[in-house]
Each structure stands twice: as C-alpha cells, then as structure tokens.
C-alpha cells in the first residue's frame, strides 16, 4: 500500500525514470510553451471537512471511511469564514469525506449563505440514508439554496456498486429522486444539481458532452431523474487509486496515457490557478489532491488558515508533480468537470 505521502511522491517521481514517455510535469509545461503556472485569481474556496464518510469507495483519493476521526473543528471553520468574507471570495466548495457528517456542517453552510456566498456541497447521496439525522438534508439544501454536486460512478447498478459497494446505486437513485422532489435539477427553481462521473478503472473518461447526454437519457428513462450538468473527472494517481494502479500493474501505462493526452489548454484551466483548498486541520493546499500528498502551499506560517494571507496565496507557486497530468489530459479535469 502506498498510502503514506512519501511513498506516493516517490512513486510519482520515479515514473519519470521508469518511462521515457513521462517527463517532469513542469518540463512538459515548458515544452508546451507554458512558463508560468501560477494563480490567476481566487474565486473558489474549497474546504475539506475531513475524512469521515459513510462509505469507503475503491477509488477514493481521500482514503475516507466510517472509522476516521479527522474532521474540521468549529474554530477552523470560523477562520475560513473570516477569510472568504474579508477577501470577497465568491464560492465556497465543501467536500470531504461526507461533509454532512461534521457536526458543524449546517451551521457553516448557513453562515456562508449569510455572507451571500455561492455554496457548493459535494454529496455522495447515500448519506441521506445513513441515519435519521440526515434524512432531511435535501430540504436543508433547498432552503439554503446550496448547489449540490453528487457523485455517481455510472448510470447502471453493476458498475456503480463495483466501485462504491453493494446497494449504492439504488440508494443514489433514491437520493437523486429526493433532490428532484425538492426542486433540484428542475427548470425554473434555480436549484442546481450536477453529477460527477469518474471512470470506474484505469481508463480516461469519454467526452463530457457525450456522457452527459447518456446519463440524462438513461436516468430519466429508468428512474425519472433530471439534473443540470454532468462533470467528468479523471481518476487522479494519488492515494487509493494510485495503490490500485500499482497493484494491478497499470501504473506506468496509465500515466503514459495521461501524458499522451496532455492538453495545454486544459493546463491553463487547471483549478489550482483559481482556488485554494483547506484541509480539515486548517492547512492550505493548491487542491484536494495536493492535500492527499501533503504538498502544502508553503512551509511557512502562512500555510495555515489562521494566518490567511491572500496576497501570498495569489502570488504563490503551485506545487506540482506528475499527478498533475490527471488535470491536463484530454479535455482536462477539475472539480467543475472538463476545463478545455
């Protein structure tokens, strides 16, 4: 298992020696004429509420699961609110684990809404059924006009359950139906429901538009479900998925595929150029994946939300390694889907 960050970073470094087709990510950028891979703004403030989750999916880059105790405390959330307020950051994107399991989740969402922020919650759908206290989440989301990004590996039960566990597809369908019943994904309500698709293995996604049409057709035909957009996301070679790639002997070929599909336009749209990502313990990262590799924005005191320095954040150098090829392959991949 390569779950510790040092062995992951080592594996990502070694790939450049194992395969002639994989240059260092920075060298690849330079070869494509990109000499400046630095932030262009700060529109998205992504907060990871911790590793606690009701599921334990095979591809999870967070290594989340039901037994984890690492979750964000209220003081850290207060620092987050201060930062988004003071620096006019318009979007707060809440993720996890299952962020809804954090006891301060609802309070935080309401505070963000009071500040008139656009709030996105990354929801695994099955959380609605993992305890009475979660049953009314769709109502809470609608009341607070939260934008829901729901992950659904595929529109068929077998492929979804293989990645997420038995029964997950049926529960996800019920979850989506509850969101629809509360107005989500329906014309005229303004309640946004987007789905996220990850390929269920060591291959890249089909084009976002094509899959969106198929998901819309199949989910509507089979279950009457409607939603706004489908975001395709590449499986990033970090954490649990990196471990799978290595165990299944797909690691080298997978990274080579990512490199062969390198797209400079997608690189320029990489999400780290316009966001900051806060870990459950308050440390700051360029993105969720860098959290998993423990690549903090710096080694100085301004790497923590309690010392948030927007000037430094906007002028930082993004910490890259070969996992970044996951964001730049084909039409690109980000928390908002394709980037090119």
């Amino acid at each position: 298992m390569v779950s510790d960050t040092d062995s992951q970073l080592k594996a990502l470094d070694e790939i450049t020696r194992i395969s002639k087709q994989v240059p260092y990510f920075m060298d690849k950028l330079a070869l494509s004429g990109i000499n400046n891979f630095n932030p262009v703004g700060l529109e998205i403030f992504q907060v990871n509420f911790g590793k606690l989750c009701n599921q334990a999916c095979k591809h999870c880059h967070v290594n989340a699961g039901p037994s984890h105790t690492e979750i964000m405390d209220r003081r850290t959330m207060e620092y987050c609110l201060e930062a988004v307020n003071k620096h006019n950051i318009p979007v707060v994107d809440i993720t996890g684990g299952a962020p809804e399991m954090n006891p301060n989740f609802r309070w935080f969402v309401k505070e963000c809404r009071k500040l008139d922020k656009r709030v996105i919650v990354r929801c695994n759908l099955t959380i609605f059924f993992s305890g009475d206290e979660y049953n009314d989440l769709p109502v809470f989301f609608a009341e607070n006009r939260v934008e829901v990004v729901a992950s659904l590996p595929f529109y068929s039960a077998d492929r979804t359950d293989r990645v997420r566990g038995k029964g997950v597809f049926d529960a996800s369908v019920r979850g989506l139906q509850m969101l629809n019943a509360n107005g989500y994904g329906r014309n005229g309500t303004g309640l946004v429901l987007n789905l996220v698709y990850n390929p269920s293995g060591a291959f890249l996604s089909a084009p976002q538009k094509q899959l969106e049409e198929e998901f819309k057709r199949e989910l509507y035909k089979g279950y009457g479900i409607v939603f706004n957009n489908l975001y395709t996301m590449t499986n990033m070679p970090v954490s649990r998925f990196l471990d799978y790639l290595m165990r299944s002997d797909n690691y080298v070929a997978y990274i080579e595929n990512l490199v062969n599909a390198f797209n400079p336009v997608a690189a320029m749209g990489a999400m780290c150029l316009n966001m900051i990502s806060v870990n459950w313990d308050g440390y700051l990262y360029d993105c969720d994946f860098n959290q998993m590799l423990d690549l903090k924005v710096s080694q100085n005191r301004n790497n923590h939300i309690s010392n948030f320095d927007a000037e430094f954040i906007l002028n930082r150098n993004v910490k890259v390694s070969q996992h970044c090829y996951g964001c730049t392959a084909g039409a690109g991949s980000s928390c908002g889907g394709s980037t090119a």
């Binding site: 087709q21 595929f154 077998d158 390929p199 291959f203 890249l204 996604s205 089909a206 094509q210 198929e214």
Partner: protein
Amino acid sequence: MEKTYYNAEDLKKFADIGDYQKEMADKFFDWYGEVFNDGALSGKEKGLIALAVAHVVQCPYCIDAYTTDCLRNGYSEQQMMEAVHVGAAIKGGAILAHSVQMMNKVKNLTL
C-alpha cells in the same frame, strides 16, 4: 531471449511503420483516424464494431485498444461480450457455410 512475439510494448511502436514507408503510413493513419470519427455511425458505435472485428482477426493489440475504448465509452461487459459473439457467429457461420462447398464436391466426386 527478448520476448519477440506479441509484446504489448510494441503497440507504442506502431507509428514507426512510417520509418520504412512514410507516405503510405501517413495515408493509412489519416484514413484510420477518419474512419473512427463520428459519421453516420458514432465513434462510440464504431469502437464496438472494432472490438468484434479485432477478435475475428485475432489481433491482441486491437483487442486491448478497443476494450479500453469500449469501457471508456460506457459499454457494459455484457454488451462487449455480445459484440464478440456476433463476430464469432459470423466467423463460425462462414466456416459452416463453406461446408456446402465440401458437400458439393463430395456429391460431385462420389457415385
């Protein structure tokens, strides 16, 4: 001795066929790309056809490539196996249909 038959790494060298005959290789790759573009059939449908044909011509490189392509495009394992059965049925049927030739010849040669 180095593995010389059907080495997965060799697929990466496919483009090298141009080293010995560039003009024809260029034409082939252009045409190949064109064939798999969306047309009256979608690129996705063409990938499934290619998977069946890859089995019929028994090309391991193409089987790997179009299995990946089909997974990527969201085909289920069942759909992929049914496509292979279509290929097998045509191939098996073609063999059996040739047996009519054998029967004709038998009838012609025997009293």
